[in-house]
Amino acid sequence: MTSLFEYAPAPESRSIVDIRPSYGLFIDGEFDEGTGTPLKTVNPATEEVLAEVATGSTEDVDRAVRAARRAFTRVWGPMRPADRGKYLFRIARLLQERAREFAVLETLDNGKPIRESRDVDVPLAAAHFFYHAGWADKLEHAGLGPAPRPLGVAGQVIPWNFPLLMLAWKVAPALATGNTVVLKPAETTPLTALLFAEVCRQADLPAGVVNIVTGAGETGRAVVSHPDVDKVAFTGSTEVGRSIARAVAGTDKRLTLELGGKAANIVFDDAPIDQAVEGIVRGIFFNQGHVCCAGSRLLVQESVHDEVVAALQRRIGTLRVGDPMDKNTDLGAINSAEQLARIRELVAAGDDEGARRWQPEGELPDRGYWFKPTVFTDVSPAQRIARDEVFGPVLSVMTFRTPDEAVAKANNTTYGLSAGIWSEKGSRILSVTSKLRAGVVWANTFNEFDPTSPFGGYKQSGYGREGGRQGLAAYLKGDD
């Protein structure tokens, strides 16, 4: 697309990855073909089929759960905690050693810019393993009583927006606390999880401790409803989260859910506008807006609305949309045709309901799934683009006059995952922060993540935390 600056192409080489024509399930330390109908995983930037991937049937899931149970009972459960920690340290190091390979594969399979997979997804995934490795032999200090115990077999289902990172958020705490895992990656992004299976083998992780069963919704249902799964962890849509909560009702299974969001990003009139604009861009266009905690509702104090919107449009005009493998790309491809259709539907609803749409000039690539960064102004809180999670690069701008109005509008959602606030006044930041019903609040920043910082939602954004000491509680039975 036309831009202020011209750049020569700077593509990352894909030669570092060796994508096989087909991949199997990873059960009990071995790869096998599984008994479901294989699915094809596609590079969303080119629509090229990358590989055929096995689909786990109910029987395959059952084999995986049995392998996980055996590993829990015989190996991983009885193992010295310090040794469990050492395996996790090994995995963290292997992820770092093979970081470039993971980043390239993630970008090919997911469509996210290589700059993000290289600088965010993969380093954070390694950091999660490193952090949790250290917990393995210190759990008696986690505030869950003197001898917290693992739950057993964890069934984990993860989304396609941060495939490797979400794997790390799930697998690292589960293993550190002594549980074993059956993980189902997302249908459209299974490849880095399968490369992770190779890492488990390189680390000599005992067979059955981590099992990876690829597939679609049916496979996920089999994982969460398997009677010998003790703990279910899910990240994904609120709709699927509801059905999982229904499925575990009346059982003894423990459940944590990390679901959708519609975060408010609140800009006060005293905010440094240029910094705020960077934060707004990071909030909504990071990872093409495929982020559950994306700052998708921009609340601007009325007096600076025009200034903020003008600066924002100027900045968006310099964003580069295109080849995710190019190191200068800011926005990559939309992950799937299905997601693109969902974004288009909600944007059309914004048009129909009377919001004013703005998009930068420029062409999108011919092949692949793409959507331009989009800003809606004149948005009213009742419109779908103000209420529904778009999960795409679409920002809805609304205004407020007083801090109370900002808080009321920010909280006017069934979600409660995250929020942002931009102001130079510390007392105002702390006051507004304490009134926001959201699990993560970024003040004068946005979309920062760290394994030491618990992450998770209020309200219908889910329950349970991932990361930090608080995140361990999801995988342990304490004395309280």
Partner: protein, 288 residues
């Protein structure tokens, strides 16, 4: 024995700080353990439950916004006021649960002490459950527990006072507001507790006590969009499963109950505080 004719109490709901009858006009008979008539209790309807949710939501800002020290003093005040009415509670517990006077009095003492225990928790939760987060970057990060919001509590059916206090006090200590459905057959201690709460500096609407049938009111609370969490302590197994399934529709936090009512005399630890607390993580850049 005096020949004075006693003045009997009309048993009402405790809702939004007031003592209304059920809007439905319904009452039901309460009997003691031997089957003798004790009183007519208000039989709360789904409309009463909805009104209670509105009251609890309205009170949430005040109660959750109070300082932890203040909340602790208010909960301690509940214990003080209960102490003065211990004999009345003991009589009601003895009659309803069929206990000896000594055992009933022990249950009342334990209930009072439970308020004291939770009163002391209010200003420790942030230190025990919160954290500063040493993130790998130039940010100050911290996490703190915050109340979940409006909690529906189905109080235990057997332990009419100690059980009730054991499930209600932790909800309040965390800063939540509550809609409580009392034990159906043994509601009198709950009614008296409402009178204690009303005179203990607990703001109106923070606790709403409904006497009636959890099986009737529970489903409305489980699916109510403005209820954030539900404690299933007083729901029998089949009902508990149905309510948990229904609560999934709005992603409520659900505290499950075991198949048997526990011995409420045991040390509860944090087991009833954690389920009704959220964790908020805050990031702020460090720089000049």
């Amino acid at each position: 024995m005096s020949d004075r004719l006693a003045v009997r109490k009309t048993c009402k709901l405790y809702l939004g700080g007031a003592f209304p009858r059920s809007e439905s006009g319904r009452t039901y008979q309460v009997h003691d353990a031997k089957g003798h008539f004790l009183a007519n209790a208000a039989w709360a309807s789904r409309k009463d439950a909805r009104d209670a949710v509105v009251a609890a939501r309205s009170a949430f800002g005040t109660w959750s916004g109070a300082t932890a020290y203040n909340r602790g003093q208010v909960l301690y005040r509940v214990a003080e006021v209960m102490e003065g009415r211990a004999a009345q509670f003991a009589e009601e517990v003895a009659a309803g649960e069929g206990l000896s006077t000594a055992k009933a009095r022990a249950a009342v003492d334990a209930a009072i002490d439970r308020w004291v225990w939770y009163a002391g928790w209010t200003d420790k939760l942030a230190a025990v459950l919160g954290s500063t987060n040493p993130v790998a970057g130039s940010y100050f990060g911290f996490s703190m527990p915050e109340p979940t919001g409006v909690v529906a509590v189905l109080a235990p059916q057997r332990s009419s006072l100690l059980g009730l206090v054991s499930v209600l006090a932790p909800v309040l200590a965390g800063g939540n507001t509550a809609v409580v459905v009392s034990s159906k057959d043994r509601p009198l201690p709950a009614i008296t507790l409402g009178e204690v709460l009303a005179t203990s500096d607990v703001p109106g609407g923070v606790v709403n006590l409904l006497t009636g049938d959890a099986a009737e009111i529970g489903p409305w609370l489980a699916e109510h969009a403005d209820v954030d969490a539900i404690d299933l302590a007083g729901a029998p197994t089949q009902l508990a499963m149905e309510l948990e399934r229904s609560a999934a529709g709005t992603i409520k936090r659900v505290l499950r109950a075991g198949p048997e009512e526990p011995d409420w005399a045991g040390d509860p630890g944090l087991s009833r505080l954690r389920p009704f607390l959220e964790t908020k993580s805050v990031w702020h850049p460090i720089g000049l």
